[in-house]
Structures are given as structure tokens and as C-alpha cells.
Symmetry: C2
Subunit: 153 residues, 2 copies
Amino acid sequence: MFTPQTIAYIRSPFNETSKIPKGLGAEHKAEGAIEFLREFEPGLKDIEGFSHLYVLWIFDRATDYDLVATPPADEGRPHGVFATRSPRRPNPIALTVVELLGRDGATLRVRGVDMLDGTPVLDVKPYLSSIPIETLKRGWLEEAEERKTASSK
Amino acid sequence: MFTPQTIAYIRSPFNETSKIPKGLGAEHKAEGAIEFLREFEPGLKDIEGFSHLYVLWIFDRATDYDLVATPPADEGRPHGVFATRSPRRPNPIALTVVELLGRDGATLRVRGVDMLDGTPVLDVKPYLSSIPIETLKRGWLEEAEERKTASSK
């Protein structure tokens, strides 16, 4: 098994988890940056050509995990942790898709951050393809959205 | 920093990396399974409702990393490792999107495996949204595809 190492830190407008948009219809349009440690800067060559990136980062505030979680989007309804984006997972690794706005040396300017300021990053990968939206099924989340729409009518 | 732990193992038809489709136009249609360790089975509750999943897994054959990589899709042209899907990365974590075909207890049957048989898995997350394909820019990969198309005319 490998030993995780921090390759970069997130700069984001969020200093508290309560400030990060969450739940149904939450939009992640906040701008921020991924500041790579100097030693990793050569790994960014040609990244400017990609419009979107996967960012793998650490839920560094999570102290333990629960196999069953109750997500904010579906209050009171428990789901298996692997069917949620809960931070309390066996391996506290998070995944966010961001839009790449530009690069200044070892810093990537991005849109769509949903991390706290100072969050450690494990990896960045190019986003290469999408599952067509019309083929996606989104389980309990879809049902929660339908309930919300129905109750607001 | 956390200590990574295996939550599941991949069952796949691939016993050698040379058998896994790679490079431009590679299609990942192979069926396989994600076999969770028994203790993690409760974490799968309600996962059946999702059509697609992110699988985070370990490049467990990778022994070191290179900051600049020469991907098979673009022979001879080096790119920064974070602009590629090279296994030789500072944190040897891989990301694959699979289609969920069904669940039998602690086993998820999936389509789209590009891992070796026996690969250790770190996390599974629901795939909730896609970047519209028409907004994607794919940098050097797009250029390599254009060169390939031009040379085959």
C-alpha cells in the first residue's frame, strides 16, 4: 500500500464547511486555485489545453467513517456511504470536477471549488469524457429531487 | 494524513496490462465486478439506483512516479503527468467510470473495467452529473486525435 502525499493545496473562499453550498441543486461556481508544491510544477506541462480537471483531495477534517450516512439532500433517509458523497468514508478521498481558467506557474486558477481553503490535494487528472446525461440514473438523489419539486408545487 | 485501506478487489478479464485497451479510441466495454470485503457491505445500501459509479483504485504495480510522461496515445510527445492518466503518479490513484449492471450482496457487477484482475479499490462514489461534451476541451489528446484522423485520410 502506498503512503499518500500532498502535491498541492486548495485556495478557496470557504473557511467553514457551513459556507459551502450543499444539498439539492447546490451550484459550485466559486473560483479558487490549486497551488502545487514547487517540486511538482513540471507535472503541469500542457495541462492548459484541458477545460476541465478531476481533483482528488483529502477530507482532512474527517476523523472516522460511517458505513451508512444521512446526506443533507435527503434528510432522515440513510444510504450506504458508497451511494453518497459523505466525507466520513473508509478512505477519506474526495473528487471534484473543476473548470480550468488558467495557469500561473505552479498555480491553476479554477472554477467550481467546493473545498475548504487549505485543503490538501492528492492528484489532478484531465477530464476526458462524459456519460451522456440522458443515460444517467441517480437513485435516491433523483427521488429526493422529485419529492422536493412535488412539495413546492 | 490517512492510511489507505483496501475496501474491495476488482474482478476483470485482464491478467496482463498489455491486454487492456489503451490509447486513442480505446473502448472500455469489458464486464467485471467489484467484490467488497464483507465488513463494507452495509455501505452499499441503495447503490443499485445509480447507473454509473466512480471507482477509485490503486495502480498497485506502479513503483515510482515521473513528472513528465509519454502516453501511448501520443507516442514520443511528453506531457506533464497531471495532464495524463499515467499510472506513474505521485499518488498512484486511478479513476474509472463504470456502468453498474447489478448487485449481488457485497459484489457489484459492472461494465467498463480497465483494471487488472485483483486490483485493490479505495472508494466507490455515485456519478451524479456530466460536463456537457460540447464544452470540453481535451488539449494534447484532441490534437493527437486530429493528427491520427488526418494521417488515415
